[in-house]
Amino acid sequence: MKNIPQNFIYDGHFNVILFRIDDTNPIWISDKNINSIIGENNYLLFNDILPIMMNNREYKYLSKIKLNIDVENDIYFQNESNFHLTILRKEGLDEIISSNLLGKIIEIYIGVIDENKNIIKDELFLFQACHISQIQNINHIFKRISFSIGDVMVNKIIPRDMLNKNDYINLPDNNIGKSIPILYGRFSLTDELNEEFDLAPAIMIDEYENIYLGSNHKIYNSSYDFYLYNSSIKRYVKIISEVEFENNDKAKIRPDYMMECEGIFRLKKMGNLTSNSMFERYLEHINNKTTLQILSQESLFLSSDEIAECGYLDYYYNGLEFGTIKIIISFGSVINGNGNIAGKVKYYLNGEFFTSSNNITANDSNICKEILMDIPIENFFRQIKNIQFGITSEQNAIIEFKKMCVCIKFNRK
């Protein structure tokens, strides 16, 4: 609802319309003869430049003022509207009302003139303020002042600064013209074990120095994890080598050039070494995300296509930690069987069995067990064609299985 000034004297019929152009010396244009505007200083007043009557007919010097927001068509921001005011050209007026006023605010007031033909500014009702968009001489008689309001006032491309080679000499060609993101809210819900990633993108601005920008502004102070998306395996992998992060006027990220990464893959595909008796339970576990019970002397083996697709991998196993691979298994309750253990973790590579010394016991109940396993083959991920990780239970044991993930480290080429 518009604010109407307390002193606005109005009985349903205003008798004066005034226009005020906000300039160094405000310019007032009135449709009635008035003597002065009380409450305004150093102003110019024109009483006689509106063509109210022409050839004994009322002249429509002010167009209709249409204000609208097109909610019917799912537009929720006020539309651009244009209006105009026609004034008479007079000697000396062209210099005052000229293109210098473009962009200035024009205010339309209505009110009532007192008996002394004075106007008190505070008692006028500011009907609408707009911006001057055009001033043109129609002919030798008329001049038109056009003004506008609505989305034209805010319609810009954001972010305003686009990436270019002048600012960023080593900018990759395919990032020219892109913008540095504006970042709102939080990207912090990453759950690697469930393969849920909620990550904000950072764009490369220097392909030689390996520098990325995540935002064109300082961001909230928190701890950061950095990831790469590996398109060949369709997975995000965590950068675990050193990453410099600056958070001054921009969020700037600089990982080690030879990035060391870690990928965690949840194993879901049933391996052919799984006990037949488990088939129904396995399907229910996959479909309904339920806990899977491994009963006495049963075997559950899971495989991952992704890490077995030899030739598609664009990474290689990290030589620094050659000989290890991490298996992460999440258990519910575990009941020991014969030999005081519940079962063993085993794996098969290219169909060849490798055991491990990793026993599962009742102590592993309701925990996430991490097991580092030996890798017996050089260039492991280049040679591997089939891999199955699994659990075999002992007689009389019961193991509640939740999920199994395999974690590998590699250097990004």
């Binding site: 209709k64 006020q78 911006h131 805010v154 810009k156 990759p172 709102y184 102070n221 969020a251």
Partner: protein, 278 residues
């Protein structure tokens, strides 16, 4: 490899994370769209309207990374999702209004409406054309694949649809609105919202519910002409009105003004308003 990805928290205001949707709108307007300032150096923005909207949309959370978009497009999306509109008031200040605030309204009486040449009220009523009854919102966009990783939906119940779709009354009264729409119009109309600005389920469901309220039933649209009396002069776009006019079945319907045509020289206003409640 031109992008890496990170767990990040976005922009702040005085070291507090900006994530409330009306607050994001305000931040975009001030920091990135560069609003005009008045002669005192204040932004031409109605602060009180933003304070009210931020309170009303307290748990409506946005989280997104913006790359090259028109301010018109992003502001419209944010308004759509937060069920609000942005207008310029008569002082040229930007003002935000949430659309569910039926607290302040102006009652329009028959005497406020002009008569036409046949001495009848200069008032017309029509129905909106669009409606939907199957609503899906996709959210939590993956910025590498461009795909949305989460969805929520509100559909009519299976019984009213007579199809094999696996639907259930998960959203109570909102499912009932969909049932009502489907039974009233007799056909399935689907609306899928790809909401790239939201990552959490609570906000996605809030948005979905508001869209169900707004778009499931064809709303009435009224148009009338009035003399610029003090009451009419005060009205602006976004104001809510109730029409106290007998025999037209409008008494229990609240409308929001979305267009005003002023003819100041004749002291007349033509007003268009759309129903906001069901």
């Amino acid at each position: 490899m031109n992008k890496i990805f990170f767990n990040a928290y976005g922009k702040t205001n005085e070291n507090v994370l900006i994530e409330n949707i009306p607050e994001i709108i305000k931040s975009l307007l001030i920091d990135d769209i560069i609003l005009m300032k008045d002669s005192c150096g204040n932004y031409l923005i109605d602060e009180n309207s933003f304070i009210t909207a931020i309170q009303k949309r307290n748990n409506w959370i946005g989280a997104f990374s913006l790359e090259k978009i028109s301010s018109r497009e992003i502001l419209n999306l944010l308004c759509d999702y937060s069920d609000s509109i942005i207008i310029f008031d008569n002082m040229n200040r930007l003002k935000i209004l949430t659309l569910d605030n039926i607290e302040l309204f102006t009652e329009i009486e028959e005497s406020d409406i002009m008569l036409d040449k046949d001495n009848l009220l200069d008032l017309t009523i029509r129905k909106e054309n669009k409606y939907y009854n199957h609503f899906t919102i996709n959210y939590k966009k993956d910025y590498y694949t461009g795909k949305y990783t989460k969805s929520e939906y509100i559909y009519p119940e299976k019984s009213s649809l007579n199809t094999n779709e696996n639907t259930h009354n998960k959203y109570g009264s909102y499912t009932n609105i969909c049932n009502y729409s489907f039974n009233l119009y007799g056909d399935k109309r689907e609306l899928v919202i790809n909401c790239e600005l939201v990552r959490d389920r609570i906000t996605a469901v809030n948005i979905l519910k508001k869209i169900v309220e707004r778009k499931s039933i064809k709303k009435d649209i009224v148009m009338f002409k009035s003399i610029l009396t003090n009451k009419i002069l005060k009205l602006e776009i976004g104001d809510q009105i109730l029409l106290n006019i007998s025999d037209l079945f409008l008494q229990d319907k609240f409308f929001i003004i979305y267009e005003i045509n002023y003819d100041l020289l004749k002291s007349i206003a033509e007003i268009k308003a759309i129903q906001i409640n069901i």
